[in-house]
């Protein structure tokens, strides 16, 4: 407990030192807020150019996209992963196809997403979905196939079989792996969101950053970058806390 306090105190000192150094370098050495705005200049620029309402819209639109794509990926990835891991015949058909698609970088789907779904929301959901889907699927599948046979045999001797064996014994045993997949998928979803918003969007945090640069408001752009970082950290730790409650133990990292 004391070490936790000490370490977060030290972390705060580290952050404060960095911010101070940035402020000093930007104001006294570089002296050009169009190239290197200081932290206080970023905040001031954001205050001047952004209303609270606009900010709330950008954040909520981005979060909506992440949750939409990630939610679809979680449902599809977990369902397919569990099915492919439990019914080996199904797995033998599904896995080769998915393994073939998996190495393609998620962002490389953006052009096809635009061709298939147009420039609106569905194409962004699709790209975010793809980014989050593969780690979720793979981890769920691996969790299902790595269940020690002894556990399943023990359940069978107690006459647990069929759907009950799957839902009450196998899936709970695979939960930690599923939780890991969800966290990996979630952090990928955030990285992809920004790229999807840079290419074609009229709202959202990624759009805010891109637009601010085009308007020459670099301070707002830097503010936007930091905002994306903070929002993704907060969302990630919320997910981690939720998963800890469901899965019993949180995945490391």
């Amino acid at each position: 407990m004391r070490t936790a306090v000490a370490s977060s105190g030290a972390g705060a000192i580290g952050v404060a030192t960095l911010l101070l150094a940035w402020e000093v370098v930007a104001r006294l050495v570089w002296q050009d807020p169009q190239v290197l705005p200081s932290p206080s200049q970023c905040l001031a620029a954001a205050w001047r150019h952004l209303s609270m309402q606009e900010l709330a819209v950008h954040v909520s639109v981005s979060l909506g996209r992440v949750l939409g794509g990630f939610g679809l990926a979680a449902v599809a990835g977990i369902a397919l992963g569990i099915t492919a891991g439990w019914y080996r015949g199904f797995g033998r058909i599904v896995r080769p196809i998915l393994e073939l698609l998996r190495p393609i970088p998620p962002l490389a789907w953006i052009p096809m997403a635009i061709i298939w779904f147009g420039l609106g929301e569905p194409s962004k959901w699709f790209v975010i979905f793809l980014g989050a889907f593969f780690p979720i699927f793979t981890n769920a599948w691996r969790g299902m196939t790595a269940i020690p046979p002894a556990i399943l045999d023990a359940a069978r001797t107690m006459d647990v079989d069929g759907a009950e064996l799957l839902l009450r014994v196998a899936v709970p045993a695979a939960l930690p792996d599923i939780a890991t997949g969800l966290r990996v998928g979630f952090s990928l979803a955030f990285g992809i969101l920004v790229a999807a918003e840079l290419i074609a969007a009229d709202r959202g945090m990624g759009y805010l950053v891109m637009q601010s640069r085009e308007l020459g408001q670099l301070g707002v752009a830097v503010f936007g970058v930091l905002l994306i970082g903070i929002v993704s950290l907060v969302a990630d730790s919320a997910l981690a806390a939720a998963l800890r409650r469901v899965a019993g133990r949180g995945p490391a990292g």
């Binding site: 080769p96 046979p149 952090s187 790229a195 840079l198 950290l233």
Partner: protein, 281 residues
Amino acid sequence: MRPSGHDVKGTVTSGGDGRRRSRRDWLDPLLVVLALLLLWELASALGWLRPVRFPAPSRLASSLWELTVSGYPTGVTLDTHFAITMQRILGGFLAAVALAVPLGLLIGWFPLLDRLTGTIVAFCRSVATLSLLPIALVWFGTGEASKMFLIGYGCFWVMLSNVIAAVKQVDPVLVRAARTMDAASFDLFLSVVIPSALPRILSGARIALGVGFMVIVGAEMIGTIIGLGALIMEARTFYRSDITLVGMIVLGALGFVFTTGLERLEARLLPWRVRQGGGPS
């Protein structure tokens, strides 16, 4: 379809059909993929799939040929796109590794330094790399430097946090044992800490390279027409979705070759290595 439990028992009891099983391991996936391609080709031939949305596999093959021989945009052949993309990825990746390894060893070794920088590293790592693209454009222009910066940024923080974690998880008993044998601290570092941190550092490098592959596509989407990421965006603009798909396949193959190559290398160099997750970015 049988539940897996029976299958698992089957492999344990019937040792004799191990050879048949291993042939099945590559034959089954191959058949599945071939069947899928056949279906796809058939559906296109029957006019069920619109060629712009889902170009047929045979079309993709001829596009690959076109891209290799005459290039797209005309004159820029696949090997040029490939070489430029590789150059950007490796440039950014190697710069990131060169910076992150010494810095990570330092931070991981001194607990105070680790506590001071912990929050900063965690935050910078969670900043979405591509959100820096507009800022990179201001700092470095639309040329090569901004792409290398983005790839370097993405790789650097993943690499750094893995190197730090690698040093921190070195068994303290080993370190104390070396101290009792009068190892001087620099010797200790070279002969005890680095070797036992190496597996995690290598898997960090593999993960960082994966991040590089992800970032490059986004970085190439703006301000260039050469490179695999630029190729697929450019082809879409002119409704050449066949070229886009070929580019995606090449990108996927490249990523696959690199990650499995590094995995093999790891296994060869460090046969004693225990499997450890390095975490995503």
